[in-house]
């Protein structure tokens, strides 16, 4: 962790003399403040995670109950086309949806920050609104909009005399899911990026303008670098979110059962294994493996970004 609390505290001489006694008291206070969180964290985070790891090492047999099987579940997962298919799908989802979403968010944030848009305040509010809509409601709503018989999109195509594409077919369902996720999160990311832009000191722009830099140059050389920490945050959140994809496909399944299988995403697969197939041990291994993949991808992205930052 690079961000350390700076000790700006200048101790006066008597304070320094007393600091040992104070320090013990402070340490005690600190632990007392942290303890409630740590207890809850241990109970509902560490213990379940440990239990999951433990479960994943066993296999339940029809005869003999649960048997220790070492890493069998993991090697089974690594040879499981359902798992790989889902993983490949969410990876593809991430590679396509995330850049589009972040580009849209960045564009809107830059436009609003430039102060050249009329009614910018309302734009900020309206673009953000979908964030307050639960993903269940968002999916439900878009599901109706996609609908072949009476969906708004079909109606619009019909109105101009074009043949409407089937947005709930196996070939287009992933794209339709991407659209829902974009709709939900462009606004949130935009707000994060916009706030980062607002925090750039004005002096920098003035200096750049005096040096003869145009608006595009300023956007490229000052604004985009200023966005880096915010972009990294949104990037990490997108990675975590994409790999965990569950709500949207699970709801779309109701209206497009042929397009979305039970293994559409790794999470959906693990859920179906555990709650429909009753294979808890194998589901635990899948969930664990998925968590591992997310951590690795997040680490790699951070590593790459940090290295770039150091070079810059």
């Amino acid at each position: 962790m690079t961000a350390e609390t700076p000790r700006r505290m200048a101790l006066s001489a008597p304070a320094a003399r007393r600091s040992r006694g104070i320090h013990a008291g402070q340490t005690r206070t600190a632990w007392l403040l942290i303890l409630p969180f740590l207890l809850v964290f241990a109970a509902f985070f560490t213990v379940p995670l440990g239990y999951s790891a433990y479960l994943s090492l066993f296999t339940s047999k029809l005869v003999g109950g649960e048997v220790f099987s070492g890493l069998d579940n993991y090697s089974r997962a690594l040879h499981d086309p359902h798992f790989w298919e889902g993983l490949r799908r969410v990876a593809f989802f991430l590679c396509v949806q995330m850049p589009i979403m972040l580009a849209a968010s960045t564009f809107i944030a830059l436009a609003l920050d430039s102060q050249r848009v009329r009614g910018g305040k309302f734009v900020r509010l309206l673009v953000f609104v979908p964030y307050a809509v639960p993903s269940v409601v968002a999916t439900l709503m878009w599901g109706y909009l996609y609908g072949k018989d009476y969906g708004l999109i079909t109606q619009m195509f019909d109105a101009v005399g074009l043949h409407a594409p089937d947005l709930l077919s196996p070939g287009s369902i992933l794209g339709s899911t991407m659209n829902i996720v974009c709709w939900e999160f462009v606004g949130y990311n935009m707000i994060v990026l916009y706030a980062a832009l607002r925090s750039v000191p004005n002096d920098l722009y003035e200096a750049a303008e005096i040096d003869g830099a145009g608006q595009w140059r300023i956007a490229w050389s000052i604004k985009l670098p200023a966005l880096r920490p915010a972009l990294l945050l949104t990037l990490i959140f997108s990675i975590i979110g994409s790999f965990q994809l569950f709500n949207e496909p699970n709801l779309l399944f109701n209206i497009a059962p042929n397009a979305i299988g039970s293994d559409f995403t790794p999470n959906l697969y693990a859920y179906n294994l555990a709650f429909r197939g009753q294979d808890n041990n194998y589901a635990a291994a899948i969930a664990f493996l998925l968590g591992f993949v997310v951590m690795i991808v997040a680490f790699v992205v951070q590593g790459v970004t940090n290295r770039k930052e150091r070079q810059a």
Partner: protein, 311 residues
Amino acid sequence: MTAPAMSTEAEHAAVKSAPVVGRRRRKAERGKQRSSVLTVIIWLTVLYFIVPLLWLVISSTKDNADLFTTFGLKLGHSFQLFKNLGSLFTFQDGIYSRWLINTVLYAVVGSVGAAVLSTMAGYALAKYRFPGSRAVFNIVLGSIMVPLTALALPTYLLFAAAHLTDTPWAVILPSLVSPFGVYLMRVYAADAVDDSILEAARIDGASEFRVFRTISLKLLTPGIVTVLLFQLVATWNNYFLPLIMLNSPKLFPVTVGLAQWQGAAAAGGGAQVLFSTVITGAFVSIIPLMIAFLFLQRYWQSGLATGGVKG
């Protein structure tokens, strides 16, 4: 591990300058011209975000026949909003209002609890240096990366063993843990609470807890509201956890209940009448959070970005 973080100096610059810059820049920008092209492009983009919601509002005023036969963005032949609301709140013995109350209960208890725990922990991590503080913070940061769904299954099994599944606790207890809240609070507290104020209070003989209660909490209020809002949205919108934890429909939050109705409506078999009920239910369910966001603009507009600006 390395957090998604900037250097400390940048962090401070960002935090300190934010409010001042706002004021200074507004003055400087008064002279800037508006761009018509950009305005048109941006407002066209806004349509994308608003039209689906507009469709939802309009659709909740239609009966089933109009829903299928009239254009989505035009009003139907008759205005049926009140009839739809009536059937929404009476369908299945009025279980929908039960779901709304459940959602409010889970979201409020969960988010207030999480905000309290995160505030205390984040403040301690930001303002005290003690053996183990680094380790605790690193664990918190690492756990942000763990997909919550990886936790859901084992949590379910443990709760089942403790006979806690299918009770409100099964949804509330896990949502008390918010590593991201702790992280936000730590970032926020590091700057909002000045060490010199703490030192002055200590020299005056105030106990550590008194300092926290009387001075720090006040300074932390905007950060606390942010964490609260963040958690409120997360628990309000939660679907996966209640889906696996709860069996009794009377314990469902709105999300799980609506999803079940949608499933029933999509499955057909005479459940077609459900369409307008589901749509009206979806519309009603998003109103409370919309109002909350409208009134708390001051907080989320800068607050939700805390991690991005400073961390």
